[in-house]
Protein backbone atom coordinates (compact mmCIF):
# COMPACT_ATOMS: atom_id res chain seq x y z
CA UNK A 1 0.00 0.00 0.00
CA UNK A 2 1.22 3.47 -0.72
CA UNK A 3 0.06 6.99 -1.42
CA UNK A 4 1.03 8.00 -4.94
CA UNK A 5 1.26 11.69 -5.75
CA UNK A 6 1.50 13.00 -9.29
CA UNK A 7 3.87 15.97 -9.32
CA UNK A 8 3.62 17.94 -12.53
CA UNK A 9 6.64 20.01 -13.56
CA UNK A 10 6.88 23.34 -15.32
CA UNK A 11 9.86 23.39 -17.69
CA UNK A 12 11.63 20.88 -15.48
CA UNK A 13 10.88 22.66 -12.20
CA UNK A 14 8.47 22.03 -9.35
CA UNK A 15 6.69 24.81 -7.53
CA UNK A 16 4.94 25.43 -4.23
CA UNK A 17 1.88 23.51 -5.44
CA UNK A 18 4.02 20.39 -6.00
CA UNK A 19 5.27 20.52 -2.42
CA UNK A 20 1.75 21.15 -1.10
CA UNK A 21 0.66 17.95 -2.84
CA UNK A 22 3.56 15.98 -1.36
CA UNK A 23 2.92 17.46 2.12
CA UNK A 24 -0.73 16.45 1.83
CA UNK A 25 0.22 12.95 0.67
CA UNK A 26 2.61 12.67 3.63
CA UNK A 27 -0.15 13.69 6.03
CA UNK A 28 -2.39 11.06 4.52
CA UNK A 29 0.31 8.37 4.61
CA UNK A 30 0.75 9.09 8.31
CA UNK A 31 -2.97 8.54 8.86
CA UNK A 32 -3.03 5.28 6.92
CA UNK A 33 0.38 4.01 8.03
CA UNK A 34 1.80 3.86 4.53
CA UNK A 35 4.44 5.77 2.59
CA UNK A 36 4.56 8.37 -0.16
CA UNK A 37 5.77 7.76 -3.69
CA UNK A 38 5.84 10.67 -6.11
CA UNK A 39 5.61 10.22 -9.86
CA UNK A 40 7.08 12.77 -12.22
CA UNK A 41 6.63 12.73 -15.98
CA UNK A 42 9.11 14.50 -18.23
CA UNK A 43 12.67 15.76 -17.97
CA UNK A 44 13.41 16.83 -14.41
CA UNK A 45 16.93 16.75 -12.98
CA UNK A 46 17.95 14.60 -9.99
CA UNK A 47 18.27 17.48 -7.50
CA UNK A 48 14.82 18.72 -8.33
CA UNK A 49 13.35 15.21 -8.05
CA UNK A 50 15.08 14.72 -4.72
CA UNK A 51 13.59 17.96 -3.40
CA UNK A 52 10.23 16.16 -3.16
CA UNK A 53 11.81 14.15 -0.36
CA UNK A 54 12.05 17.30 1.77
CA UNK A 55 8.28 17.18 2.12
CA UNK A 56 7.90 13.48 2.74
CA UNK A 57 8.24 11.50 -0.50
CA UNK A 58 10.26 8.35 0.23
CA UNK A 59 10.47 7.37 -3.39
CA UNK A 60 10.33 9.43 -6.57
CA UNK A 61 9.58 7.66 -9.82
CA UNK A 62 10.69 9.57 -12.85
CA UNK A 63 9.22 8.66 -16.20
CA UNK A 64 10.39 10.32 -19.33
CA UNK A 65 9.47 9.32 -22.83
CA UNK A 66 9.35 11.39 -25.97
CA UNK A 67 5.74 10.33 -26.46
CA UNK A 68 4.93 12.26 -23.30
CA UNK A 69 6.27 15.62 -24.41
CA UNK A 70 2.71 16.77 -25.14
CA UNK A 71 -0.02 16.58 -22.50
CA UNK A 72 -2.24 13.87 -23.93
CA UNK A 73 -4.70 13.01 -21.18
CA UNK A 74 -5.18 9.44 -22.37
CA UNK A 75 -1.46 8.64 -22.48
CA UNK A 76 -0.73 10.38 -19.17
CA UNK A 77 -3.55 8.52 -17.44
CA UNK A 78 -2.23 5.23 -18.82
CA UNK A 79 1.29 5.95 -17.53
CA UNK A 80 0.19 7.04 -14.06
CA UNK A 81 -2.12 4.02 -13.80
CA UNK A 82 0.79 1.76 -14.67
CA UNK A 83 2.99 3.33 -11.99
CA UNK A 84 0.13 3.19 -9.47
CA UNK A 85 -0.31 -0.54 -10.10
CA UNK A 86 3.42 -1.15 -9.83
CA UNK A 87 3.55 0.70 -6.50
CA UNK A 88 0.31 -0.93 -5.22
CA UNK A 89 -1.00 2.58 -4.60
CA UNK A 90 -4.38 2.69 -2.91
CA UNK A 91 -4.62 6.49 -2.81
CA UNK A 92 -3.60 8.84 -5.61
CA UNK A 93 -3.17 12.58 -5.07
CA UNK A 94 -3.26 15.03 -7.95
CA UNK A 95 -3.63 18.81 -8.30
CA UNK A 96 -7.02 20.31 -9.11
CA UNK A 97 -5.48 22.40 -11.90
CA UNK A 98 -5.50 22.32 -15.71
CA UNK A 99 -3.37 19.20 -16.03
CA UNK A 100 -5.00 17.45 -13.07
CA UNK A 101 -8.47 18.06 -14.46
CA UNK A 102 -7.37 16.61 -17.81
CA UNK A 103 -5.75 13.45 -16.44
CA UNK A 104 -7.52 12.48 -13.21
CA UNK A 105 -11.03 11.65 -14.48
CA UNK A 106 -9.52 9.28 -17.06
CA UNK A 107 -7.36 7.69 -14.37
CA UNK A 108 -10.48 7.25 -12.25
CA UNK A 109 -12.27 5.22 -14.93
CA UNK A 110 -9.14 3.33 -15.93
CA UNK A 111 -8.51 2.18 -12.36
CA UNK A 112 -12.17 2.10 -11.34
CA UNK A 113 -11.08 4.42 -8.55
CA UNK A 114 -13.64 6.80 -7.05
CA UNK A 115 -12.55 10.40 -7.15
CA UNK A 116 -13.22 13.50 -5.07
CA UNK A 117 -12.09 16.83 -6.49
CA UNK A 118 -11.36 20.15 -4.86
CA UNK A 119 -10.49 18.60 -1.52
CA UNK A 120 -9.01 21.03 0.99
CA UNK A 121 -8.33 18.96 4.12
CA UNK A 122 -7.09 15.55 5.15
CA UNK A 123 -9.87 12.93 5.23
CA UNK A 124 -12.55 13.33 7.88
CA UNK A 125 -12.47 9.58 8.44
CA UNK A 126 -10.67 6.57 6.96
CA UNK A 127 -13.45 4.08 7.46
CA UNK A 128 -15.55 4.86 5.58
CA UNK A 129 -13.02 6.89 3.59
CA UNK A 130 -14.60 10.34 3.79
CA UNK A 131 -13.19 13.56 2.42
CA UNK A 132 -14.22 17.19 2.75
CA UNK A 133 -14.79 18.81 -0.63
CA UNK A 134 -16.00 22.04 -2.12
CA UNK A 135 -19.50 22.01 -3.67
CA UNK A 136 -21.95 24.64 -4.92
CA UNK A 137 -19.01 26.80 -5.93
CA UNK A 138 -17.90 27.30 -2.35
CA UNK A 139 -21.39 27.88 -0.90
CA UNK A 140 -21.33 24.44 0.68
CA UNK A 141 -18.88 21.68 1.52
CA UNK A 142 -19.65 18.00 1.33
CA UNK A 143 -18.49 14.95 3.24
CA UNK A 144 -17.96 12.55 0.37
CA UNK A 145 -17.30 8.85 0.80
CA UNK A 146 -15.09 7.13 -1.74
CA UNK A 147 -16.16 3.50 -1.83
CA UNK A 148 -13.70 1.89 -4.22
CA UNK A 149 -10.48 0.14 -3.06
CA UNK A 150 -8.35 2.70 -4.95
CA UNK A 151 -9.15 6.35 -4.30
CA UNK A 152 -8.23 9.55 -6.10
CA UNK A 153 -8.17 12.96 -4.48
CA UNK A 154 -7.56 16.23 -6.28
CA UNK A 155 -6.28 18.87 -3.90
CA UNK A 156 -7.34 22.50 -4.06
CA UNK A 157 -4.33 24.77 -4.55
CA UNK A 158 -3.08 26.72 -1.51
CA UNK A 159 -5.35 24.79 0.84
CA UNK A 160 -2.70 22.73 2.60
CA UNK A 161 0.39 24.09 4.37
CA UNK A 162 3.85 22.88 3.46
CA UNK A 163 5.34 20.49 5.99
CA UNK A 164 9.13 19.96 5.87
CA UNK A 165 10.49 16.58 6.86
CA UNK A 166 13.93 15.12 7.54
CA UNK A 167 13.78 12.66 4.76
CA UNK A 168 15.75 11.62 1.72
CA UNK A 169 13.97 10.42 -1.35
CA UNK A 170 15.22 7.59 -3.50
CA UNK A 171 14.92 8.43 -7.17
CA UNK A 172 14.08 5.66 -9.62
CA UNK A 173 14.12 6.25 -13.33
CA UNK A 174 11.48 4.01 -14.76
CA UNK A 175 10.90 3.11 -18.35
CA UNK A 176 7.18 2.89 -18.93
CA UNK A 177 6.10 1.64 -22.29
CA UNK A 178 4.05 4.38 -23.89
CA UNK A 179 2.11 3.19 -26.85
CA UNK A 180 2.60 5.97 -29.37
CA UNK A 181 -0.73 5.15 -31.00
CA UNK A 182 -2.34 6.29 -27.75
CA UNK A 183 -1.02 9.83 -28.19
CA UNK A 184 -3.62 11.50 -30.36
CA UNK A 185 -3.20 15.11 -29.28
CA UNK A 186 -1.08 17.10 -31.74
CA UNK A 187 0.05 20.55 -30.65
CA UNK A 188 0.01 23.06 -33.48
CA UNK A 189 0.86 26.23 -31.63
CA UNK A 190 1.78 27.44 -28.15
CA UNK A 191 1.35 30.96 -26.82
CA UNK A 192 2.87 31.19 -23.41
CA UNK A 193 4.14 33.93 -21.20
CA UNK A 194 6.98 32.56 -19.16
CA UNK A 195 8.46 34.22 -16.13
CA UNK A 196 5.21 35.94 -15.18
CA UNK A 197 3.65 35.10 -11.82
CA UNK A 198 0.52 33.04 -12.46
CA UNK A 199 -2.68 34.32 -10.93
CA UNK A 200 -3.41 30.86 -9.48
CA UNK A 201 0.07 30.72 -7.89
CA UNK A 202 0.08 34.22 -6.40
CA UNK A 203 -0.01 34.59 -2.61
CA UNK A 204 -1.31 38.14 -2.98
CA UNK A 205 -3.84 39.27 -5.57
CA UNK A 206 -5.05 42.82 -6.17
CA UNK A 207 -8.24 42.86 -8.18
CA UNK A 208 -10.35 45.60 -9.73
CA UNK A 209 -14.03 45.83 -10.58
CA UNK A 210 -16.35 48.23 -12.34
CA UNK A 211 -15.84 50.69 -9.51
CA UNK A 212 -12.47 51.46 -11.11
CA UNK A 213 -14.50 53.35 -13.74
CA UNK A 214 -12.08 53.10 -16.66
CA UNK A 215 -9.13 50.98 -17.83
CA UNK A 216 -7.04 54.16 -17.55
CA UNK A 217 -7.32 54.05 -13.76
CA UNK A 218 -5.46 50.78 -13.28
CA UNK A 219 -1.95 52.13 -12.65
CA UNK A 220 -2.13 52.34 -8.81
CA UNK A 221 -3.73 48.88 -8.66
CA UNK A 222 -0.92 47.37 -10.75
CA UNK A 223 1.66 49.25 -8.70
CA UNK A 224 0.20 47.95 -5.43
CA UNK A 225 0.27 44.38 -6.75
CA UNK A 226 3.88 44.78 -7.87
CA UNK A 227 4.97 46.29 -4.55
CA UNK A 228 3.39 43.40 -2.68
CA UNK A 229 4.88 40.81 -5.02
CA UNK A 230 1.43 39.79 -6.15
CA UNK A 231 -0.63 39.39 -9.28
CA UNK A 232 -3.50 41.44 -10.70
CA UNK A 233 -7.02 40.19 -11.32
CA UNK A 234 -10.43 41.60 -12.20
CA UNK A 235 -14.15 40.95 -12.04
CA UNK A 236 -16.16 39.61 -14.95
CA UNK A 237 -17.67 42.91 -16.17
CA UNK A 238 -14.15 44.34 -16.40
CA UNK A 239 -12.86 41.50 -18.59
CA UNK A 240 -16.09 41.49 -20.63
CA UNK A 241 -15.60 45.19 -21.31
CA UNK A 242 -12.08 44.43 -22.46
CA UNK A 243 -10.56 46.71 -19.81
CA UNK A 244 -8.35 43.84 -18.67
CA UNK A 245 -7.35 40.51 -20.28
CA UNK A 246 -9.72 37.54 -19.90
CA UNK A 247 -7.04 35.57 -18.09
CA UNK A 248 -7.44 37.97 -15.14
CA UNK A 249 -11.15 37.23 -14.64
CA UNK A 250 -11.68 35.64 -11.23
CA UNK A 251 -15.06 34.22 -10.35
CA UNK A 252 -17.24 31.23 -10.94
CA UNK A 253 -16.73 31.04 -14.69
CA UNK A 254 -13.22 32.51 -14.60
CA UNK A 255 -10.29 31.54 -12.42
CA UNK A 256 -10.87 30.14 -8.97
CA UNK A 257 -8.12 31.27 -6.66
CA UNK A 258 -7.17 30.94 -3.01
CA UNK A 259 -4.42 33.46 -2.24
CA UNK A 260 -3.39 34.47 1.28
CA UNK A 261 -4.58 38.01 0.56
CA UNK A 262 -7.16 39.16 -1.96
CA UNK A 263 -7.74 42.89 -2.33
CA UNK A 264 -11.04 43.69 -4.07
CA UNK A 265 -11.08 47.28 -5.32
CA UNK A 266 -14.38 48.58 -6.64
CA UNK A 267 -15.92 45.08 -6.70
CA UNK A 268 -19.40 44.75 -5.21
CA UNK A 269 -19.09 41.00 -4.60
CA UNK A 270 -21.79 39.23 -6.61
CA UNK A 271 -22.26 35.54 -5.71
CA UNK A 272 -20.50 34.53 -8.92
CA UNK A 273 -17.47 36.64 -8.06
CA UNK A 274 -17.31 35.34 -4.48
CA UNK A 275 -17.39 31.77 -5.86
CA UNK A 276 -13.96 32.39 -7.33
CA UNK A 277 -12.32 34.00 -4.31
CA UNK A 278 -14.09 32.72 -1.19
CA UNK A 279 -11.23 30.38 -0.30
CA UNK A 280 -8.82 33.34 0.06
CA UNK A 281 -7.36 33.46 3.58
CA UNK A 282 -7.88 37.23 3.92
CA UNK A 283 -10.09 39.47 1.84
CA UNK A 284 -9.81 43.26 1.82
CA UNK A 285 -12.70 45.19 0.29
CA UNK A 286 -12.61 48.76 -0.95
CA UNK A 287 -15.98 50.01 -2.12
CA UNK A 288 -18.01 53.21 -2.01
CA UNK A 289 -21.18 51.31 -1.04
CA UNK A 290 -21.02 50.27 2.61
CA UNK A 291 -23.81 47.73 1.98
CA UNK A 292 -21.99 45.96 -0.86
CA UNK A 293 -21.96 42.16 -0.30
CA UNK A 294 -18.16 42.09 -0.63
CA UNK A 295 -17.95 43.49 2.93
CA UNK A 296 -19.69 40.35 4.22
CA UNK A 297 -16.91 38.21 2.77
CA UNK A 298 -14.09 40.56 3.81
CA UNK A 299 -12.12 40.75 7.07
CA UNK A 300 -10.93 44.29 6.38
CA UNK A 301 -12.90 46.98 4.63
CA UNK A 302 -12.57 50.56 3.54
CA UNK A 303 -15.69 52.43 2.54
CA UNK A 304 -14.34 54.79 -0.06
CA UNK A 305 -13.47 55.37 -3.67
CA UNK A 306 -10.90 52.77 -4.79
CA UNK A 307 -9.30 55.26 -7.15
CA UNK A 308 -8.50 57.55 -4.21
CA UNK A 309 -7.72 54.80 -1.70
CA UNK A 310 -5.31 52.76 -3.88
CA UNK A 311 -2.70 55.52 -4.33
CA UNK A 312 -2.68 56.03 -0.56
CA UNK A 313 -2.17 52.30 -0.04
CA UNK A 314 0.72 52.40 -2.50
CA UNK A 315 2.32 55.19 -0.43
CA UNK A 316 1.74 53.29 2.81
CA UNK A 317 3.35 50.13 1.42
CA UNK A 318 6.33 52.13 0.15
CA UNK A 319 6.63 53.56 3.65
CA UNK A 320 6.93 50.14 5.31
CA UNK A 321 9.32 48.90 2.60
CA UNK A 322 11.77 51.71 3.36
Amino acid sequence: MSVLVYTENWDGKFKKLSYELVSYAAGLAKMTGSSVTAVSVGNVDQAELKSLGDYGALKVISVSDQNLSVLDSQAYAAVIAEVAARESADIIIIANNNAGKAIAPRLSVRMKAGMASGVSRLPVSLNPFTVYKRTYSGNAFAHMVIKSPVKIISLAQNSFDLVKTENTAVVENVAVSVDSSLVKTAVKNVEKQSGKLLLTDADIVVSGGRGMKSPDNWAPLVELAELLGGATACSRPVSDEGWRPHGEHTGQTGKIIAPNLYVAAGISGATQHLAGISSSKYIVAINTDKDAPIFEAAQYGIVGDAMKVLPKLVEAVKEIKK
Binding site: W10, D72, S73, Q74, A77, N98, A99, K101, I103, A104, P105, R106, S108, V109, A113, G114, M115, A116, T135, Y136, S137, N139, A140, F141, A142, H143, M144, V145, K147, K184, T185, V187, K188, N189, V190, E191, K192, Q193, K196, L198, T200, D203, T253, G254, A270, T271, K281, A285, E296, Q299, G301, I302, V303, K308, V309, K312, L313, A316, V317, I320
Partner: protein, 249 residues
Protein backbone atom coordinates in the same frame (compact mmCIF):
# COMPACT_ATOMS: atom_id res chain seq x y z
CA UNK B 1 -20.90 14.99 -38.27
CA UNK B 2 -23.01 14.68 -35.12
CA UNK B 3 -22.43 16.70 -31.96
CA UNK B 4 -23.55 15.63 -28.50
CA UNK B 5 -23.78 18.27 -25.76
CA UNK B 6 -23.98 16.97 -22.20
CA UNK B 7 -26.08 19.13 -19.92
CA UNK B 8 -26.41 19.22 -16.19
CA UNK B 9 -29.44 20.65 -14.38
CA UNK B 10 -28.25 22.95 -11.59
CA UNK B 11 -29.64 25.60 -9.24
CA UNK B 12 -29.36 29.12 -10.64
CA UNK B 13 -25.91 30.37 -9.65
CA UNK B 14 -27.32 33.13 -7.41
CA UNK B 15 -29.26 30.60 -5.28
CA UNK B 16 -28.71 30.74 -1.54
CA UNK B 17 -27.97 27.09 -0.77
CA UNK B 18 -29.90 25.59 2.13
CA UNK B 19 -29.91 21.98 3.24
CA UNK B 20 -32.68 19.51 4.02
CA UNK B 21 -33.10 16.04 5.54
CA UNK B 22 -30.46 16.44 8.24
CA UNK B 23 -28.03 18.15 5.86
CA UNK B 24 -27.94 15.10 3.58
CA UNK B 25 -29.42 16.93 0.59
CA UNK B 26 -30.13 20.45 -0.51
CA UNK B 27 -33.46 22.12 0.07
CA UNK B 28 -34.95 22.51 -3.40
CA UNK B 29 -37.78 24.79 -2.29
CA UNK B 30 -37.99 27.80 -4.55
CA UNK B 31 -34.88 26.89 -6.53
CA UNK B 32 -34.75 28.04 -10.12
CA UNK B 33 -33.13 25.23 -12.15
CA UNK B 34 -30.96 26.13 -15.10
CA UNK B 35 -28.60 24.58 -17.62
CA UNK B 36 -25.15 24.47 -16.03
CA UNK B 37 -23.43 27.67 -17.30
CA UNK B 38 -20.51 25.93 -19.03
CA UNK B 39 -22.88 23.44 -20.70
CA UNK B 40 -24.95 26.35 -21.98
CA UNK B 41 -21.79 27.81 -23.53
CA UNK B 42 -20.96 24.42 -25.13
CA UNK B 43 -24.44 24.25 -26.61
CA UNK B 44 -24.07 27.77 -27.95
CA UNK B 45 -20.76 26.90 -29.62
CA UNK B 46 -22.20 23.67 -31.07
CA UNK B 47 -25.04 25.65 -32.64
CA UNK B 48 -22.69 28.33 -33.98
CA UNK B 49 -20.64 25.59 -35.65
CA UNK B 50 -23.79 24.02 -37.09
CA UNK B 51 -24.90 27.42 -38.48
CA UNK B 52 -21.84 27.41 -40.71
CA UNK B 53 -22.77 25.03 -43.52
CA UNK B 54 -19.09 24.45 -44.34
CA UNK B 55 -18.78 22.44 -41.11
CA UNK B 56 -21.38 19.95 -42.37
CA UNK B 57 -22.87 19.27 -38.94
CA UNK B 58 -25.98 17.14 -39.27
CA UNK B 59 -27.33 17.45 -35.75
CA UNK B 60 -26.79 18.82 -32.27
CA UNK B 61 -28.22 16.51 -29.61
CA UNK B 62 -28.34 17.25 -25.89
CA UNK B 63 -28.16 14.51 -23.28
CA UNK B 64 -29.09 14.73 -19.64
CA UNK B 65 -28.91 12.08 -16.95
CA UNK B 66 -31.66 12.80 -14.46
CA UNK B 67 -35.26 12.32 -13.47
CA UNK B 68 -38.31 13.67 -15.35
CA UNK B 69 -38.27 16.81 -13.20
CA UNK B 70 -35.35 18.03 -15.35
CA UNK B 71 -37.60 18.18 -18.42
CA UNK B 72 -37.94 22.02 -18.37
CA UNK B 73 -34.15 22.37 -18.53
CA UNK B 74 -34.01 19.94 -21.45
CA UNK B 75 -36.80 21.85 -23.23
CA UNK B 76 -34.83 25.03 -22.70
CA UNK B 77 -31.85 23.49 -24.51
CA UNK B 78 -34.17 22.52 -27.35
CA UNK B 79 -35.62 26.05 -27.41
CA UNK B 80 -32.10 27.47 -27.68
CA UNK B 81 -31.65 25.35 -30.79
CA UNK B 82 -30.65 21.73 -30.12
CA UNK B 83 -32.29 19.37 -32.64
CA UNK B 84 -33.23 16.63 -30.23
CA UNK B 85 -32.59 15.39 -26.73
CA UNK B 86 -31.98 12.21 -24.80
CA UNK B 87 -32.73 11.84 -21.12
CA UNK B 88 -31.36 8.89 -19.23
CA UNK B 89 -33.99 8.25 -16.63
CA UNK B 90 -31.92 7.93 -13.46
CA UNK B 91 -30.60 9.98 -10.55
CA UNK B 92 -27.06 11.01 -11.51
CA UNK B 93 -25.57 9.23 -8.48
CA UNK B 94 -22.02 10.42 -9.13
CA UNK B 95 -19.80 11.48 -12.01
CA UNK B 96 -18.68 7.90 -12.69
CA UNK B 97 -22.28 6.69 -12.95
CA UNK B 98 -23.31 9.64 -15.11
CA UNK B 99 -20.35 9.23 -17.47
CA UNK B 100 -21.09 5.51 -17.85
CA UNK B 101 -24.62 6.33 -19.03
CA UNK B 102 -23.47 8.92 -21.55
CA UNK B 103 -20.69 6.66 -22.84
CA UNK B 104 -23.32 3.99 -23.51
CA UNK B 105 -25.35 6.45 -25.60
CA UNK B 106 -22.29 7.52 -27.60
CA UNK B 107 -21.48 3.87 -28.33
CA UNK B 108 -24.96 3.29 -29.69
CA UNK B 109 -25.55 6.53 -31.57
CA UNK B 110 -22.00 7.22 -32.81
CA UNK B 111 -21.47 10.89 -32.07
CA UNK B 112 -18.33 12.49 -33.47
CA UNK B 113 -17.90 15.36 -31.02
CA UNK B 114 -18.95 15.24 -27.39
CA UNK B 115 -18.99 18.52 -25.47
CA UNK B 116 -19.02 18.78 -21.70
CA UNK B 117 -18.69 21.81 -19.44
CA UNK B 118 -15.52 21.91 -17.37
CA UNK B 119 -17.52 21.52 -14.20
CA UNK B 120 -21.07 21.61 -12.93
CA UNK B 121 -21.79 24.46 -10.56
CA UNK B 122 -23.28 22.06 -7.99
CA UNK B 123 -20.63 19.37 -7.39
CA UNK B 124 -17.65 21.18 -8.94
CA UNK B 125 -16.13 17.84 -9.93
CA UNK B 126 -14.60 18.48 -13.38
CA UNK B 127 -14.93 14.76 -13.94
CA UNK B 128 -17.68 13.68 -16.30
CA UNK B 129 -16.09 14.69 -19.64
CA UNK B 130 -12.76 12.95 -19.09
CA UNK B 131 -14.56 9.91 -17.69
CA UNK B 132 -16.78 9.56 -20.77
CA UNK B 133 -13.69 9.63 -22.98
CA UNK B 134 -11.91 6.95 -20.95
CA UNK B 135 -14.99 4.71 -20.95
CA UNK B 136 -14.93 4.98 -24.75
CA UNK B 137 -11.15 4.93 -25.20
CA UNK B 138 -11.25 8.12 -27.25
CA UNK B 139 -9.20 11.34 -26.87
CA UNK B 140 -10.28 14.16 -24.59
CA UNK B 141 -9.04 17.71 -24.46
CA UNK B 142 -9.65 19.72 -21.31
CA UNK B 143 -9.90 23.45 -20.55
CA UNK B 144 -11.01 24.13 -24.12
CA UNK B 145 -11.70 27.78 -24.85
CA UNK B 146 -11.95 27.50 -28.63
CA UNK B 147 -13.27 24.93 -31.10
CA UNK B 148 -13.47 25.09 -34.86
CA UNK B 149 -13.07 22.84 -37.88
CA UNK B 150 -10.48 23.24 -40.62
CA UNK B 151 -10.92 20.91 -43.59
CA UNK B 152 -13.01 18.61 -41.46
CA UNK B 153 -10.34 18.46 -38.76
CA UNK B 154 -11.13 19.73 -35.24
CA UNK B 155 -8.84 22.52 -34.03
CA UNK B 156 -9.06 23.26 -30.33
CA UNK B 157 -7.59 25.96 -28.14
CA UNK B 158 -6.86 24.83 -24.62
CA UNK B 159 -5.76 26.84 -21.61
CA UNK B 160 -2.40 25.91 -20.16
CA UNK B 161 -0.66 27.51 -17.19
CA UNK B 162 0.43 30.94 -18.39
CA UNK B 163 -1.06 30.75 -21.87
CA UNK B 164 -2.80 28.63 -24.42
CA UNK B 165 -2.14 25.87 -26.91
CA UNK B 166 -3.75 25.07 -30.21
CA UNK B 167 -4.18 21.32 -30.62
CA UNK B 168 -5.90 18.90 -32.92
CA UNK B 169 -7.33 15.46 -32.17
CA UNK B 170 -9.07 12.98 -34.44
CA UNK B 171 -12.83 12.42 -34.03
CA UNK B 172 -14.55 11.03 -32.12
CA UNK B 173 -13.34 13.06 -29.14
CA UNK B 174 -14.54 14.75 -25.99
CA UNK B 175 -13.92 18.47 -25.51
CA UNK B 176 -14.23 19.71 -21.93
CA UNK B 177 -15.01 23.37 -22.37
CA UNK B 178 -14.60 26.47 -20.28
CA UNK B 179 -15.03 30.22 -20.53
CA UNK B 180 -14.21 31.63 -23.94
CA UNK B 181 -15.73 28.79 -26.01
CA UNK B 182 -18.62 31.12 -26.86
CA UNK B 183 -19.00 34.79 -26.05
CA UNK B 184 -22.49 34.82 -24.57
CA UNK B 185 -24.94 31.95 -24.12
CA UNK B 186 -27.51 31.91 -26.92
CA UNK B 187 -30.99 32.91 -25.80
CA UNK B 188 -34.13 31.06 -26.84
CA UNK B 189 -36.24 33.04 -29.30
CA UNK B 190 -40.05 32.80 -29.31
CA UNK B 191 -39.93 30.57 -32.39
CA UNK B 192 -37.46 28.30 -30.65
CA UNK B 193 -39.68 28.05 -27.59
CA UNK B 194 -42.63 27.09 -29.81
CA UNK B 195 -40.76 24.45 -31.80
CA UNK B 196 -39.07 23.02 -28.68
CA UNK B 197 -42.43 21.61 -27.61
CA UNK B 198 -42.53 19.27 -30.57
CA UNK B 199 -38.87 18.30 -30.73
CA UNK B 200 -38.16 14.68 -29.73
CA UNK B 201 -36.92 13.84 -26.24
CA UNK B 202 -35.94 10.20 -26.13
CA UNK B 203 -36.04 8.62 -22.68
CA UNK B 204 -33.60 5.79 -22.05
CA UNK B 205 -33.40 3.54 -19.05
CA UNK B 206 -29.94 3.47 -17.40
CA UNK B 207 -27.38 0.73 -17.78
CA UNK B 208 -26.21 -0.99 -14.62
CA UNK B 209 -23.28 0.81 -12.99
CA UNK B 210 -22.15 0.99 -9.40
CA UNK B 211 -21.34 4.56 -8.30
CA UNK B 212 -17.93 4.92 -6.65
CA UNK B 213 -18.65 7.88 -4.40
CA UNK B 214 -21.48 9.10 -2.21
CA UNK B 215 -22.20 12.35 -0.41
CA UNK B 216 -23.02 11.75 3.25
CA UNK B 217 -23.77 15.28 4.31
CA UNK B 218 -23.29 18.93 3.54
CA UNK B 219 -22.10 21.75 5.69
CA UNK B 220 -21.90 25.51 5.34
CA UNK B 221 -18.49 27.10 4.95
CA UNK B 222 -17.08 28.32 8.25
CA UNK B 223 -18.43 31.82 8.91
CA UNK B 224 -15.92 34.60 8.50
CA UNK B 225 -15.20 37.11 11.23
CA UNK B 226 -17.06 40.41 10.89
CA UNK B 227 -15.40 42.97 8.66
CA UNK B 228 -13.11 45.41 10.43
CA UNK B 229 -13.57 48.85 8.90
CA UNK B 230 -10.69 51.24 8.37
CA UNK B 231 -11.09 54.96 7.81
CA UNK B 232 -10.76 55.86 4.11
CA UNK B 233 -8.65 58.87 5.11
CA UNK B 234 -6.11 56.66 6.84
CA UNK B 235 -5.56 53.55 4.70
CA UNK B 236 -2.06 53.23 6.14
CA UNK B 237 -3.76 51.58 9.09
CA UNK B 238 -4.87 48.76 6.77
CA UNK B 239 -1.29 48.08 5.76
CA UNK B 240 -0.32 47.95 9.46
CA UNK B 241 -3.09 45.41 10.14
CA UNK B 242 -2.15 43.27 7.14
CA UNK B 243 1.44 43.29 8.30
CA UNK B 244 1.03 42.83 12.05
CA UNK B 245 -2.37 41.22 12.61
CA UNK B 246 -3.07 39.10 9.51
CA UNK B 247 0.67 38.74 8.79
CA UNK B 248 0.08 38.35 5.07
CA UNK B 249 2.40 41.05 3.76
Amino acid sequence: MKILVCISNVPDTTTKIRFAAGNTSIDTTGIQWVINPWDELSLTRALELKDDAANDIKSVTVVHVGPASAEPTIRKALAIGADDAVRVNAEPADAYYTAAQIAELVKKDQFDVILCGIESSDFNGSLTGGMIAEFLGIPSVSAVSGLKFENGQAVLTREIDGGKETVSVPAPFVAVVQKGIAKEPRIAAMRGIMTARTKPVKVLEPVACEPLTQILEFEKPAPRAACKFIDAENPGQLIQLLQNEAKVI
